[in-house]
Symmetry: C2
Subunit: 305 residues, 2 copies
């Protein structure tokens, strides 16, 4: 049986092999996704993001437990940009996911490197599409750090859950400022801490400032204590309700984000490094201004594409 | 006297007028920067970033105090992506900066919107170049939130200071994973808290994992208590030592980052929204796969550039 057919039949070994091609961002991986694409769209792609210390990994592990308890399957993608510093963090996550280690219904992969054919976002999207095509009911994309790419990557999901936690510090305002608008669902984790009610009030207050959001559209919020598994089932139910509300328009919007990101990565991959380097040198030496340099680089791209 | 000449002479009213053009990302602003570019390069551009609750704004205010105490001048750019939720945060920062409100030696502007001619990164860079050309000794770029663009923007600075604080949570590992590598200097703020020594040890341990960094290259670290002004002078001295070590090569590397970012913003601005929308619709309806869509969009760009 061909690899594509085995993947579509949900064969875990075939999935593992395909995931390796996708992880390495090879041409084989890309051809597979191209062949599988028409069979995607059934799995629910959930993004989980939030500041450090919010307990994202614990929450993901608990969501996996609830999903498995229903007899459904999932794939988890831990996104961590290539960095010599990140090994420790990934290792920690893997230890936490050991609960599901022996269960073929929980398939975990990390995306940590930018391949030569594309970037981190494209690789993550391909992995999610692969999991989806293989019949996983849920695909969870979890960001590990807060690097520049990772919040972007969460946008590739159908529904993004922003995990916040009480008492992060006195300017908790600041973090919300940057990322409030990506939340389709809020999860207040460690909700047994004293300030949980205040955090909920603050989020509600900020939501009422947003111009577009009227009462019915405001992102729902659930309190959880992930370490004890409390409220996780209810959170998953709310996530599913958001999926049910999604329209053709919102699916199209998701693909707009994804195509923009793929395009950006493609163009930066096409441009020869020496072209950028040469102009960077000229600008650093004040032989040309940055606008002239960018004009020239646009010209180079136009000839190459 | 022409506006350009008044800016070069350090005239604060001329600077304010030019900053308004740059903030709105108008063609006039762009022409000004183009004319001023050959006169830039003297001011020290410092990026200040770090997780929420790290006390970035307080630290920036204290750095301003030290710089002014020496009789030098500075410009501060608070970067906050356009968001209805961010007003509160910006307002808070402005209140904290009131200490310097009446002092023309501290010129504060925020970059919050993506203009039609370019993006947030380009606007921020232009503002920094303007402050530099007007004779400011230092330009501080401070990120307000942790949105997807903001950490990228800190890279536009010559020297980036990563502000961390003890006791952020149990997976403090995770935040460092994403952003450790952008730090030219580490500032441990709230260093009078009990876990400061442990945080310093953790950072040192992570640095020794990094492949490129040998002892001499490792980013220096200073402990500060920004709220009491402790250690801020020493931090500024360390930042200046990093500047002194910078070579022609490192200036060229900085411009490579900047040009890539400007190029990315330019290309996304050029592409007609309806082209992306049309392909997003086709992909959402599974009439084409995402690779075919991106190929087509590259074709559209090639015809337009």
């Amino acid at each position: 049986m061909k690899l594509v057919e085995r993947i579509l039949a949900g064969d875990v070994r075939a999935l593992a092999r395909a995931a390796t091609f996708v992880e390495a961002q090879t041409a084989t991986g890309r051809e597979l996704i191209s062949e599988l694409f028409s069979r995607t769209g059934r799995g629910k792609i959930i993004g989980i993001t939030g500041p450090p210390g919010a307990g994202k990994s614990t929450l993901v592990s608990q969501l996996a437990r609830v999903i498995r308890g229903r007899g459904q399957t999932l794939g988890i993608i831990a996104v961590d940009p290539s960095s010599p510093y990140s090994r420790g963090a990934l290792l920690g996550d893997r230890i936490r996911m050991q609960e599901h280690h022996a269960d073929p219904g929980v398939f975990v992969r990390s995306m940590a490197t930018r391949g030569t054919l594309g970037g981190l976002a494209q690789g993550t999207l391909e992995m999610a599409l692969l999991f989806d095509a293989s019949g996983r009911d849920f695909v969870i994309i979890e960001t590990v750090g807060v690097g520049q790419d990772e919040i972007d990557i969460t946008r590739l999901a159908d529904v993004t859950v922003l995990v916040l936690t009480p008492g992060v510090g006195d300017d908790v305002q600041a973090i919300k400022a940057g990322i409030m608008e990506i939340a389709d669902v809020f999860a207040i984790n460690k909700a047994d801490m004293p300030d949980a009610a205040r955090l909920e009030q603050e989020i509600r207050a900020m939501q009422s400032l947003g111009e577009e959001t009227d009462r019915a559209d405001a992102a729902p919020l659930r309190r959880v204590v992930a370490s004890k598994g409390q409220g996780v089932e209810e959170l998953l139910e709310v996530i599913e309700q958001v999926f049910e509300k999604r329209t053709r328009g919102s699916r199209q919007r998701a693909w707009r984000e994804r195509l923009q990101e793929m395009l950006r990565e493609r163009l930066l991959a096409v441009l020869p490094p020496h072209a950028i380097e040469e102009h960077a040198k000229r600008v650093a030496e004040k032989l040309e201004d940055p606008y002239t340099a960018v004009d020239a680089l646009v010209g180079v791209l136009a000839r190459l594409t």
